[in-house]
């Protein structure tokens, strides 16, 4: 404590600043950042897979609670991870900015004076031929920067090594700016639509939507996307998908003339800085539910979620308008197969021989309870099962309270809509980072000095290569050779 008071707050601050911007600290922070990233690849992350996180909580409640306190499920947005990279970037800025100014100054200044004792340098030689004029011409031809003094020349080349180095590090800052802009002003959401339906880009059209901290809901682009056709192609032997092709009509803004477009997994739609991606697909069985008197109480396509590669899909059909209320837990199999082990399942992802398997429940659907409900799940806590049935296409089943008909199916697609105004900075930063890196790692920085010997009428030549880069020996030999020519 006494030391700090003696030094005073100001010098303490400058001491801390020197420590933070020292290369050793930067290196430790860099390695620390690498280690800090590891837990995020071990534990499930809320930002990627919230379901897995809740599974983890169910299977290891005690450990999960402890890990959650350490933010192990939100590693990359946690204060401890952020503080490492923020410190690293402060250290980087503190290191790079002064060096940038120095470099700019050095670029305009002349090379340093020729050292007194050249014999300490690399590849030192003394020759009794040549002259400073020849050396100067050679330096000029080989585009060295040099200063000529009365009896010596100091030349250097490879300034772009430091230029590249600085460009690389400044580009990293630009990438961080891009990431920051993206997370503050970005938007990301998902919407599942059946083929035939139209998606209008307003917040209520989304199943899930999240905005950056400084992005308000008003700034969504007012476009619309109508899914007109979806074709999935599969390998016959393995059932592995080989192509997904979604045909859409787009209007930007909504209501303007529609244009037909094709969306594939690797080719999203673009509306300014907003992109629309095809992320997943599945089937919605079309059903009609009637009451005892034959009145239609529900009709439409119900989105079912795929459970395996062959698109065995499950979902829930809720009919609140019947007395008592009726619900169905359904399973849609596009190509029906059955064995003793798995029961009914799908053996191929395309619809070849579809079935709709349902269990029928009556009672209270719980829609008025105020608790948010999943549209894919039936809350059976206040319900009673009254039947089970496997329906073929166009088949109806009378379950006493009414009937259900399996009318057909339609594919659905999951559109992911992302707005990231920061990514252009990240991209530019990346490009400059690579260019800077190449420049800095493949440029040799070196100096060569030529000096008239004090004792004899000869010339001393020597050089110094930064980071002992190879090639300087040959270069000096070339210069000596050039001078030797003057002998003839």
């Amino acid at each position: 404590m006494t030391i700090t008071t003696e030094l005073g707050a100001k010098s303490l601050a400058s001491w801390l600043w020197r420590q933070l911007t020292s290369m050793r600290t930067a290196l430790i922070l860099l390695l620390l950042l690498g280690f800090a990233a590891i837990p995020g690849s071990i534990f499930p992350q809320r930002s990627q897979n919230p379901l897995k996180v809740s599974d983890y909580f169910k299977s290891n409640p005690g450990t999960a609670k402890f890990l959650d306190q350490l933010q192990m499920f939100d590693v990359y947005s946690s204060p401890w991870f952020s503080s490492i990279y923020i410190l690293l970037f402060i250290s980087l800025i503190g290191c790079v900015l002064p060096r940038t100014f120095e470099h700019l100054k050095a670029a305009r200044a002349k090379p340093t004076l020729t050292p007194k004792n050249l014999s300490r340098m690399e590849f030192h030689s003394e020759n009794n031929f040549g002259s400073l004029d020849v050396a100067e011409a050679w330096f000029k031809k080989n585009r060295f920067r040099y200063r000529r003094d009365a009896n010596s020349i100091s030349a250097e080349k490879g300034y772009s090594r430091e230029t590249g180095n600085l460009v690389f590090h400044l580009s990293l800052i630009l990438i961080l700016v891009g990431v920051g802009v993206g997370s503050l002003y970005g938007m990301k959401g998902d919407a599942i639509i059946n083929v035939g339906e139209r998606f209008i880009n307003i917040p209520t059209s989304y199943d899930v939507i999240s905005f950056g901290k400084l992005q308000s809901e008003k700034t969504l682009n007012p476009f619309s996307v109508t899914a007109t056709d979806f074709k999935a192609t599969y390998e016959l032997k393995t059932g592995a998908p080989s192509d997904y092709k979604l045909t859409v009509n787009i209007a930007d803004p909504v209501g303007s003339k529609e244009i037909s477009k094709v969306v594939r997994v690797n080719s999203p739609l673009t509306f300014g800085s907003t992109k629309v991606y095809l992320q997943a697909n599945g089937y919605s069985p079309l059903v009609t539910v009637r009451n005892k008197t034959g009145e239609i109480k529900y009709q439409g396509a119900v989105i079912f979620l795929p459970q395996d590669g062959n698109l065995t899909s499950i979902g829930a059909i809720k009919v609140p308008d019947m007395q008592p209320q009726v619900g169905f837990i359904g399973s849609f199999v596009p190509t029906f197969a059955r064995n003793s082990e798995r029961g009914a399942f799908s053996s191929y992802p395309e619809v070849l021989d579809p079935r709709l398997l349902i269990s029928i429940w009556t009672g209270d659907l719980g829609l008025d309870s105020g608790n948010p409900q999943s549209i894919y799940r039936l809350d059976t806590s206040a319900m009673e099962r009254i039947g089970l049935k496997t329906l073929k296409l166009k088949e109806s089943y009378n379950f006493g309270e009414g009937s259900i008909t399996f009318e057909g199916w339609t594919p659905w697609v999951n559109l992911q809509i992302v707005k990231d105004p920061g990514k252009i900075y990240a991209l530019l930063g990346s490009i400059f980072a690579i260019l800077g890196l190449l420049l800095s790692l493949f440029t040799r920085s070196r100096r060569i000095w030529v000096k008239e010997s004090a004792s004899e009428s000869g010339l001393e030549i020597a050089g110094l290569a930064k980071n002992s880069a190879p090639g300087l020996e040959n270069e000096i030999a070339a210069l000596v050779n050039e001078m030797r020519k003057t002998l003839r």
Binding site: M23, R24, A26, L27, L30, L31, L33, G34, A37, I38, G40, S41, P44, Q45, S47, Q48, N49, K52, V75, Y76, V179, K188, E235, T238, A240, P241, S242, D243, Y244, R264, V265, N266, S267, P268, K275, Y277, Q279, Q416, V418, D420, K423, A426, L427, S430, A433, I434, L437, L438, L441, N467, S468
Partner: protein, 296 residues
């Protein structure tokens, strides 16, 4: 010829390459073993006696490289795409990149002494690939259908091959360093270059390949933006690619800026290389995330 015929041809080329690597391995083993002479009760090394054997090793290595190259090309023809769709294909291409890096370094830096460990490493890689990782040649899932596959994966594989070579040299450094501090090199290591040369060579390889690895990560990010709607998402593969990048960046800084040489630098290099290997093996086989496709 049908796709299957091409796939079979590719497999035969792999087997042939493995035979050639085995011959190369034996030739290099003979080169080392039979150059030992006992002169006046002192063990000495005389490589002039076994120069021919070493030459055979080099020729076999080049031939094996050609066969491996053919195998990778044929695999691509059979699948009607770039041959980088699963771990088997990554491994054979990685072995090709590794052998290529060795042959290049051989021509440039005279490192024939590395022939023996290189042959062992390649045989292990190819052996694992053809027995454990083999998958029939098949088309790609939609997510992989992109020009970026060729760009991103080739850059990553070549980087991996060079990282592995740098690791071999760094490991050699550490072993020899240990012998030297204990009193001297064993007979078989007398021909190997000085420690400083190994240190410098490791650095050269890393400095050469670090921009390529940076490019591989960035190309992956650009592709992820097109396919998944975000350029960076801390997917396990991305996370470990980042860790590898950070580790090699630390190595370069430690060496260039702080001036680490020798032992410390070699350990850091080994650590960085092991993060790459971990990413390749662990994340592909046991990991979750979006880089796991169609079984391996």
């Amino acid at each position: 010829m049908t796709s299957t015929d091409y796939a079979y041809l590719s497999n035969y080329a792999i087997y042939s390459a493995m035979v050639l690597f085995t011959v190369a391995f034996l030739a290099h083993a003979v080169e080392v073993a039979f150059s030992v002479r006992n002169l006046e009760e002192k063990t000495q090394f005389d490589f002039s006696r076994t120069k021919r054997s070493g030459d055979i090793g080099t020729v076999m290595m080049v031939l094996a490289f050609i066969f491996l190259f053919a195998a990778v090309i044929l695999r691509g023809i059979s699948a009607h795409r770039v041959p980088w769709g699963n771990m088997y294909e990554f491994s054979i291409t990685g072995a090709l990149a590794f052998t290529g890096a060795y042959i290049f370094a051989l021509w440039k830096y005279k490192i024939r002494w590395l022939g023996l460990p290189v042959a062992i490493a390649v045989l292990l890689t190819l052996g694992t690939a053809i027995t454990l990782l083999y998958r029939p040649s098949a088309p790609l899932v939609p997510a992989l259908k992109s020009t970026w596959l060729a760009i991103h994966v080739s850059a990553a594989i070549i980087s991996g091959g060079v990282f592995l070579l740098a690791n071999c040299i760094a490991a050699t450094y550490l072993i020899l360093d240990r012998y030297e501090t204990k009193g001297g090199r064993p007979v078989w290591a007398l021909k190997l270059p000085a420690l400083e040369v190994l240190d410098q060579l490791t650095y050269r390889l890393v400095a050469f390949v670090f921009p390529l690895w940076t490019f591989a990560v960035i190309a992956g990010a650009i592709w992820a933006e097109a396919a998944w709607g975000r350029y960076w998402g801390w997917d396990p593969k991305e996370t470990w690619a980042f860790i590898t990048w950070v580790a090699y960046a630390a190595y370069l800084h430690a060496r260039v800026t702080i001036g680490w040489r020798g032992r410390k630098a070699a350990w850091l290099c080994l650590f960085a290389g092991s993060t790459f290997l971990f990413n390749y093996v662990y994340v592909n086989v046991w990991g979750t995330g979006r880089h796991t496709y169609s079984g391996l």
